[in-house]
């Protein structure tokens, strides 16, 4: 851990966020788009359209999705006391994808897909907590060893749920009409090409702010929970209440992010991991830092995804996975 004052890290992350916004809005096949922010003249209308109808909603969506995934990842890691937990690894994103696919095949359209993905995310988390409720809401006085095993069992249960939803997806893909294949594939990998709704993007940002604020009120007790349920209870934490709240927050965050951007993987796990190296494990600092880092990461990744091989667009999930997998393996090797 580096010894950087946390305020300085948060300010640096905010500046990085502004810079990546500027970059995301300025980069693309149409240039000079940023000037539409101040130039309201007739001639600027096409550039203004690109800005307000394409780039801004997409940038805001990327930012919100990244922040939400990082928040969910940080909370799941703290709740499970395991740095490998993440909505994608635990199968929540996969479950959301199955839900979205089912809605699509049923002819639900975009709105149906979004509702389906939110339902899928919640259903998977519900299944996970039900299958592994001993680890989340188990007896307070279990020995430390038992608690550790329980956390491993949640992680393994999640990995198996992910495998199960991958199998379901393959099944659904085999049944899907060919015309839908490409858009489905992109969505499954995490894609922001469809994120052109400014209101949805703003709503997701508001959701991010609310959920981050809700988690921030639980950051101190969460610091204690990291060291064991029994210890936290003895020191004055209402363990079950804190857990219930944070499980709900991470479920809402994941469902919102998946609805917005599809199954973008590994952000929830890379962002907290990187920030932990810089600010340490105080959740009061780590949670906002990870949220900002995740948001910047997805925003930059999406900017690269839509410009690297232009005019073709890559799904942003491909890039986050390309970054995330090596980090994951590196972390496992150090455990």
């Amino acid at each position: 851990m580096l010894s950087v004052p946390p305020q300085r890290v948060l300010v640096a992350l905010l500046l990085a966020a502004l810079a990546s916004f500027a970059l995301a809005l300025a980069t693309g096949s149409v240039s000079g788009v940023l000037s539409a922010l101040v130039d309201w003249s007739e001639g600027a209308s096409s550039r203004s359209a690109v800005l307000w109808q394409l780039r801004l909603p997409r940038a805001l969506s990327a930012f919100a999705a990244g922040g939400l995934l990082a928040l969910a990842g940080s909370l799941l890691q703290a709740l499970l006391r395991n740095p490998l937990a993440d909505a994608y690894v635990l199968g929540v994103s996969g479950g959301a994808a199955v839900g979205a696919m089912l809605a699509l095949l049923a002819g639900g359209g975009l709105l149906g897909m979004q509702a389906g993905s939110a339902l899928g995310a919640f259903a998977t988390l519900a299944a996970l907590f039900l299958l592994a409720r001993r680890a989340f809401f188990g007896r307070l006085h279990s020995a430390a060893r038992v608690a550790e095993e329980a956390s491993t069992s949640v992680l393994l249960t999640g990995v198996m749920l992910a495998a199960f939803s991958a199998a379901l997806l393959s099944l659904l893909l085999a049944l899907a009409p060919d015309v839908q294949m490409r858009s489905i594939m992109f969505w499954l990998l995490g894609d922001l090409a469809g994120a052109t709704d400014l209101r949805a993007a703003v709503a997701a940002l508001v959701m991010l702010a609310v959920l981050l604020a809700a988690s921030a009120t639980q950051a101190r007790p969460l610091n204690l929970l990291l060291r064991g349920d029994l210890q936290a209870f003895v020191q004055g934490v209402d363990v079950r209440r804190v857990r219930r709240r944070l499980v709900l927050v991470s479920a809402l965050a994941t469902a919102t992010a998946v609805t917005l951007a599809g199954a973008v993987g590994f952000v929830g796990f890379v962002a907290p991991h990187l920030m932990r190296q810089v600010v340490g494990n105080d959740q009061r600092v780590l949670l906002p830092a990870a949220v900002l880092a995740g948001a910047v990461l997805v925003l930059l990744a999406d900017t690269v995804a839509r410009t690297a091989v232009a005019p073709m667009q890559l799904p942003v999930g491909v890039l986050t996975a390309l970054i995330g997998v090596p980090v994951f393996i590196g972390l496992v090797r150090r455990l």
């Binding site: 020995a143 990291l226 029994l230 209870f233 003895v234 020191q235 340490g280």
Partner: protein
């Protein structure tokens, strides 16, 4: 604080189908130091968890300051009793000082004395040089003493300790027992396996045989060679020393 900081009335504790403790009546008076002895799996940790309010007793009631422990608010409870659990989790890096400061949670963000008190207890348990070390780099013995300093930094008058001298070398065993025996403002309930350490620490003793039976009373009445031999089903002698209560020596079982 009432006269009996903690009290058991007809408390029964079960583990699955096994009855560990049955109809336990116990009055722990302020300032006394109780040692809990018994074979492995006899229910010592279970009893400490029940006294701490982390586990319900299967029958009877545990009263803290005269009120059933499960009726206490979690934060108010933290001001009354601290517990040294039988293990710890350090999943992420953290300094020793930050780890000890978790004990100050109940005092809120504006806790001016936290660091001073934490450093003071760490120093008394020979961890004064470890403040900025990562807890995950400590030896088990060091980590255990940090955990003891954590329990004490909570500044609760009732101290429940599960095997406080586990993992300690001879010097630190003696140091931990000595520091605990010197506590003036605390009431102590500690499980131990070392009989001679028990004699040095205890004003009172509770023997649990793990089959429901128990014996409780003043240390000099309970900690006798006959009772301990029967408790552990192993011949135990008391060798007289020039001064003091003597030395317990364990012979190999049959």
């Amino acid at each position: 604080m009432s006269e009996a900081p903690i009290e058991c009335r007809r408390v029964a504790l079960r583990a699955g189908a096994r009855l560990l403790v049955d109809a336990l009546d116990l009055q722990v008076r302020a300032g006394s130091r109780w040692v809990v002895l018994g074979p492995n799996g006899a229910g010592k940790s279970t009893l400490l968890a029940a006294l701490a309010g982390a586990r319900r007793s299967d029958d009877g009631s545990v009263l803290l300051g005269g009120r059933p422990v499960e009726q206490w608010d979690v934060q108010a409870l933290a001001a009354q009793r601290a517990l040294l659990p039988d293990g710890w989790l350090d999943p992420f890096a953290a300094t020793v000082l930050d780890t000890v400061l978790t004990a100050r949670y109940r005092l809120g963000e504006a806790d001016e004395n936290g660091t001073r008190i934490a450093e003071q207890w760490l120093a008394r348990f020979d961890c004064g040089s470890l403040l900025q070390r990562d807890v995950r780099s400590l030896s088990r013995g060091e980590r255990q003493r940090v955990a003891i300093a954590t329990a004490l930094s909570q500044e609760a008058p009732l101290l429940l300790l599960d095997e406080p001298i586990a993992h300690q070398d001879p010097r630190h065993q003696a140091l931990v027992i000595d520091e605990l025996a010197r506590l003036q403002a605390h009431t102590v309930v500690a499980s131990l396996h070392d009989l001679n350490a028990a004699v040095r620490l205890a004003t009172h003793a509770l023997l649990l045989n793990g089959r429901g039976d128990w014996t409780a009373g003043p240390a000099e009445e309970v900690l006798t060679a006959e009772r301990l031999s029967a408790l552990f089903d192993t011949p135990i002698d008391r060798l007289p020393l020039a001064s003091g209560p003597g030395f317990f020596a364990v012979r190999p079982p049959r």
